[in-house]
């Protein structure tokens, strides 16, 4: 199980996967924004998307789990 976590405090602006979808390691999963800086967040490991906890437009703290890949 590999969690995709928030690398910094900021807002999720786009979620690029769906539950059940298979993702590769380093594939972009979520795009976030913090202080106008845009940043793609990638899956640390390949696998199936088990759960999407993040919502587009919502703010999260560094370390919060956005997507569960297992």
């Amino acid at each position: 199980m590999a969690d995709v976590t928030m690398p910094m405090n900021g807002k999720v602006i786009s979620i690029k996967v769906q539950v059940g979808q298979t993702v590769e390691e380093d594939q972009e999963v979520v795009i976030i924004e913090a202080m106008k800086m845009e940043l793609p967040v990638a899956a640390p490991e390949g696998g199936a998307v088990k759960e999407i906890r993040a919502k587009e437009g919502e703010s999260y703290q560094a370390g919060d789990v956005l997507v569960v890949v297992g």
Partner: protein
């Protein structure tokens, strides 16, 4: 050359941001900046197009690999706005100030915008790309009428044109000095530096229906507002507008 950031000049390019990102992904270590004398597909935040009449304004993207943790990366965007402000000071542009998080204002009108991007791998910040759009030689007639009260340029502010390559060099000189300082001592000084140029400190700002007095900048670059009922609210994304004053976004 009095800056360590290498400058690559294109006569014409679709997007300096895309070129800088391709360089980074191909392994370029930088620091390097790409500028286009004519940018044909420039973009602002969230994919908005960036209005840039050919040959009149500076479109530049700098690739940096600062020694910072991912959570500190947004401070580089704030730092870039400080660099632009310092370069404008050195050029003799009066009344330069900053709007959170990284717009540069002259007399309250927007003169430059920053489009920062970052790439993170695991717990490491791989690189940062700082896109800068600076209105240099534009006249009011170059902007849409609805922006005439909220934008300006170096030419409009000083009455003098500025060679775009000289503008890029002036900007990179300031950015280089700040980048070196970050790599030597970390980014703890950035919020303080930024705050000294803040246009709206102490003003009432609004964002998504929330109002509060602009109290400070957090250690990672967030905007700290104090609401009328005394709550301390930290904002990490988007932007906040001063009540009663319009500026371009």
């Amino acid at each position: 050359m009095d800056h360590a950031i290498k400058l690559i000049v294109y006569e014409e390019a679709a997007s300096t941001q895309d070129i800088a990102r391709e360089l980074a992904q191909a392994g370029e270590q930088g620091p390097v900046a790409v500028m286009a004398l004519k940018q044909t597909a420039g973009r602002g935040r969230s994919g908005r197009s960036w209005i840039s009449p050919p040959g009149k304004n500076l479109a530049l993207s700098a690739l940096l690999r600062p020694k910072l943790a991912p959570r500190e990366a947004p401070l580089i965007g704030l730092l870039a706005s400080v660099a632009v402000a310092a370069a404008l000071d050195a050029k003799g542009v009066p009344s330069v100030s900053l709007k959170w998080p990284n717009d540069v204002l002259v007399d309250g009108k927007k003169i430059a915008g920053i489009l920062p991007e970052a790439s993170v791998k695991g717990d490491s910040l791989e690189f940062v790309i700082i896109g800068i759009g600076l209105n240099v030689n534009s006249r009011l007639s170059d902007f849409p009428p609805e922006l005439h009260d909220s934008v300006t340029s170096v030419l409009l502010a000083t009455g003098e044109e500025w060679d775009l390559r000289d503008a890029a060099r002036g900007l990179l000189r300031e950015m280089d000095a700040l980048h070196i300082r970050v790599n030597e001592e970390g980014c703890g000084f950035v919020p303080y530096f930024w705050e000294t140029r803040w246009a709206h400190k102490g003003r009432i700002l609004t964002r998504d229906g929330l109002e509060g007095r602009a109290e400070g900048i957090g250690p990672l670059g967030s905007l700290i507002l104090r609401t009328a009922d005394g709550r301390r609210v930290e904002i990490n994304s988007g932007q906040a507008e001063p009540i009663g004053v319009e500026t371009a976004s």
